[in-house]
Symmetry: none
Subunit: 400 residues, 2 copies
């Protein structure tokens, strides 16, 4: 019997999952309080007084997750079981209609010097208009190998996606991005004998793209990474009986949500627009995932104060979510991004599950230390969905 | 190497496992204290000062366990590995000597209207004398299908058990209880091709029982559920080297205990009688399981005060257990039953393990919050037996 899926019922309460990307932090050297503990969050603190508090581990102790695994775990999918490449996530994120077996590749526009060595792995982060112009040129000029359909899709700045569709294309392929400058791009290597043909196809496409871009001043080559084949996951509807939707401002997060069958609205322009979308269609869904990006971005900037301020900005939106009266309100992050590290980290992530069915909390507050004292303890991130379903009264009893 | 079984030694201390059924709770809206935190429990609180405190998860985060899985987990048997139907538990509970391969089915006496639709799934909860009269009538009048032995056993009120014994009977059968009134009972469906014959046998027996009961005023049909085949589990003696016995007032709990090879005394008439049984044969066993039901019942009634009072009643009996000087005294529940939910719930269950080998506790008390601060943390229920064995000095060192 697979739990909690086998116990999921079709009726029950409405769940909102609020993700502050990169929420967890580390203390300021002077105050010894983290970004979240420093932020003035009257709304989150009030919620915490009636919530189950704890910390979650996205993957495992010591493991720093990317955004894909972090979100899959929050959605209740073990990221070690569902090991999905960034190419697939990006393709879904830009709204490309992937078909089973498509091979998706993340691309960077990059620059090479006359000797063919990488001089900028991100081509100076070109404007999105330049990105789209280059993609149009590639679409019209790159020759598709026999039996293969080739799709180029723009993302933001230097990022794009390549999709290869055709029989017999396996995705066990190495990256061509050398992850450093001053060296040539790597060649595509097949990691399994079955992927040999796909390796040749991708190398041909990349070589042809290099030919098409050779005289371009901003970006004269492509680097490939995060190569993976698209396999549909069991959906939220199938697993949990939930009609679910996602609201986010970046394609990546909508992509992960689509992978598990959530409706993903058009990209929200602002956090305000995200909340308006939530309000507009609130009653039409059982489950809403709403994603706030800025907390992570300010953490990656290494700006402690700005990260705290970004948390405060989300706190100010919480009453609008509360006024929709969800039965269960989960607030957490997909991973920690301490500003001291300027990067994702392995630290457990504060989580609160607010519902009518929570145990009392001593000195409630939404912060790393208060969560350490909470009723949940330190839980795998994949336990958040079973708990949210339980609090929404959507799980039948196990055994008589 | 299977742990802790491979390390179990034949000698060591004596263990008492006290189960307050449905112990865990949720806060009162005014006082923010749970039923257990509200109850005056001077004896449990004194014990807590010298005990290891924590909370246990019977099955997994978010999963609400039935009594069967809850007790199996407390006994150290993963309920997902040992997925046992209620029919088997009930048959064991009424003292029926199940043989390997017997198919056991839980029955409700129920009422049908003239159109064959269920009007009361419990036949107005008949008296036990009426239950026994109907069972006697079924025993003498229902015709056994060829090659099959049929046993009817009364339980309490509307509950009874049916056992089918014969070669080639597989138990993958669906319930006939529709779980609602106004509709006809369901037909028995085989969930695997091998169970086809058993499906026909059971449907025949139920049809014949309907014929026998057709003019009965109190209950004119049977509904079947919880169908399972009996497979002996590795026993407490085999796994842990423990000569164990169970004391309880309801067949269900004795049934689970028998499943793991415990001696199960005749059903105790009162909690006082349970304690007297414990006192009488205390030295004859290495392990005693003693079960108190009222805490769960008052939780299911939704009566916060009565649940607290039921906890206080058990607290008053604790000194008599202590005076027997067990080396290890475990006090816990098999699941939570918050009176606010009037039902079993998924919340972790307070547990204490009192022995001479516990770490100091700040502000000791037996309650949900104090247990959250305890040395055990939140543990799987199946870890309680290894811990109890360790505290009883019954486990050898692992590795040299």
């Amino acid at each position: 019997m697979k739990l909690p899926d086998a116990l999921a019922e079709r009726d029950g309460g409405r769940i909102v999952l609020v993700v502050l990307d990169g929420l967890g932090g580390l203390p300021h050297p002077l105050t010894r309080r983290t970004e979240l503990e420093t932020a003035k969050t009257p709304n989150l603190d009030r919620l915490a007084a009636g919530a189950a508090l704890g910390l979650h581990l996205p993957v495992a102790h010591g493991i720093t997750p990317g955004s894909g695994p972090g979100h899959l775990a929050l959605f209740g999918y073990d990221p070690l079981t569902y090991d999905i490449g960034r190419g697939v996530l990006s393709a879904l994120g830009v709204g490309f209609a992937l078909e089973e077996g498509d091979v998706a590749i993340r691309l960077n526009f990059a620059t090479l010097d006359a000797q063919g060595r990488v001089t900028d792995r991100r081509a100076g982060r070109p404007k999105d208009t330049e990105n789209r112009r280059l993609i149009d040129k590639l679409r019209t000029s790159v020759r598709a190998p026999a039996g293969v359909r080739v799709f180029f899709e723009p993302e933001k700045e230097h990022r794009a996606v390549l999709i290869l569709r055709g029989a017999g294309l396996e995705a066990e392929l190495s990256d061509t991005d050398p992850q450093e400058t001053g060296v040539a791009p790597l060649r595509v290597e097949a990691r399994s004998p079955a992927a040999q043909r796909a390796a040749e196809v991708l190398q041909n496409v990349l070589d042809d793209a290099r030919r098409v871009l050779v005289d371009e001043p901003v970006a004269n080559t492509l680097l490939a990474r995060g190569i993976d084949a698209y396999r549909r996951l069991p959906s939220f509807k199938e697993r949990f009986g939930l009609h679910a939707r996602a609201i986010a401002r970046y394609p990546m997060y909508l992509g992960v949500a689509k992978l598990v069958g959530m409706d993903a609205m058009p990209i929200a322009a602002t956090d305000e627009a995200s909340i308006e979308t939530l309000e507009r269609d609130f009653a039409a869904y059982d489950f809403h995932f709403i994603h706030f990006k800025a907390v992570d971005s300010r953490g990656e900037d290494g700006d402690f104060g700005a990260k705290s301020a970004a948390i405060e900005a989300v706190d100010a939106l919480i009453p609008r979510i509360e006024s929709l009266a969800p039965d269960v309100l989960v607030v957490t992050g997909d991973h920690s991004t301490p500003s001291a590290l300027r990067a994702h980290s392995w630290h457990p992530v504060p989580v609160m599950i607010a519902s009518a069915w929570c145990r009392p909390v001593d000195t409630p507050e939404f912060g790393e230390r208060a969560c350490t004292r909470g009723e949940l303890g330190i839980i795998p991130a994949t336990s958040i969905m079973p708990l949210a379903l339980a609090h929404a009264r959507r799980l039948a009893k196990y055994g008589a």
